[in-house]
């Protein structure tokens, strides 16, 4: 890369065998860290809908009506309750794939490690609903109803998949530096969530799109820091100045633009968003270039060492 660099001290063949795997693992690590996330559109695409659950449970509705018309109260309760539970399972499944109950526009990846396993709750509701409909609606024995419910849960697991329970990592298990990185990422993610909530609250499609792009860039930077915690030092300015500023500006605009809805304010806000977006993109590129430069230096050092080893 540069010709004026001082030659590193020579290393033996044994030392080379030690250095090379480290370097290869670092190349792999950097390659992983710099893979771009999938481009996200804003607003996000419609979530997955479990149509099969709605279709399969649909006969329970006329069955409940028919049971009521026939004066068969247990049948009515079984069919209605069974359909209600399966419908709840369908809604929970949809929300489970969409990312949560709270309607937050973005998912949490750093600020909360545990979240409600909605698809597991959906599977439980589906099993219970099937069991209730089988016992009260169809008149099966309880054991048969339980078996139907178990088969339904197994089918749900194979068709949609249950969620693994991610328990929070005890902070005592982390060293000081890891805790600092985790705390910085969590705080930054909270700011990004505020920006994403502001994007939804503003209601202006263009500004919403800009804020969405800013949030996506910010999440990309957090991913980079998470993959390479040493980048935290380089991104301090981004986290403390730009991200905090973006959060305050977008939150402030949401609170004030309804009272003082002026074109000038909107234009000023737009200009600020353009600047922030530009800064976020630059910050991301700077991190990428810094990591690549680190790797270049290491490769150059190793190449020189290998050449010297070959000359001897």
């Amino acid at each position: 890369m540069t010709d004026d660099r001082h030659d590193p001290p020579p290393i033996s063949r044994d030392q080379t065998k030690v250095v090379l795997p480290d370097l290869l693992s670092r190349v792999h690590e950097l390659g992983q860290a710099h893979r771009e996330p999938l481009p996200r559109s804003w607003p996000r695409p419609a979530p997955f809908r479990p149509v099969l659950l709605w279709v399969l449970s649909a006969p329970l509705v006329p069955a409940a009506v028919t049971a009521l018309a026939a004066g068969h109260l247990p049948g009515f309760i079984g069919d209605a309750l069974g359909w209600g539970l399966v419908a709840a399972a369908a809604v929970l499944t949809r929300r489970g794939f969409a990312g949560g109950l709270s309607g937050e526009p973005g998912e949490r990846r750093f600020s909360r490690r545990w979240r409600l396993p909605l698809r597991n709750l959906a599977a439980a509701a589906l099993g219970l609903g099937t069991c209730v409909a089988a016992v009260l609606g169809s008149g099966h024995l309880l054991s048969v109803g339980v078996a139907f419910g178990a088969v339904a849960v197994l089918g749900y697991h194979l068709a949609y998949g249950l969620e693994p329970l991610r328990l929070p990592t005890p902070t005592s298990a982390l060293d000081k530096e890891s805790r600092a990185v985790a705390a910085a990422l969590a705080e930054a993610e909270e700011r990004l969530l505020t920006i994403e909530r502001a994007a939804v609250a503003i209601g202006n499609p263009e500004l919403q799109l800009r804020l969405g792009r800013i949030a996506d860039q910010g999440r990309g930077i957090l991913e980079q820091i998470a993959a390479r915690p040493s980048d935290l030092r380089r991104a301090r300015r981004f986290l403390t100045v730009f991200l905090e500023g973006a959060e305050q500006v977008s939150d402030g605009y949401v609170r004030t633009h309804r009272q003082a809805d002026s074109a000038e304010l909107e234009q000023n806000f737009r200009n600020v968003l353009v600047t922030i977006e530009d800064q976020f993109a630059r910050q991301r590129e700077r991190l990428r270039q810094a990591d690549v430069l680190d790797l270049d230096v290491q490769i150059e050092v190793l190449r020189n060492q290998l050449e010297q080893e070959g000359i001897r």
Binding site: P47, F48, T66, A70, A133, F148
Partner: protein
């Protein structure tokens, strides 16, 4: 200057739809149909 490839990385994205193989999903659909579907239809025609 080393240029790292900028490729997508879907493994790090949260699943937004079922990710199991088609064969596994087909078995799941079959089990759902033969449990929930059967119970629903039985409830409709039991009276």
């Amino acid at each position: 200057m080393t240029q790292l490839p900028a490729t997508s990385n879907s493994a790090r994205e949260p699943a937004s739809r079922p990710t199991a193989a088609l064969g596994v999903r087909l078995i799941g659909w079959f089990l759902l149909t033969s449990s929930l579907g059967l119970v629903s239809c039985q409830s409709l025609f039991v009276l």
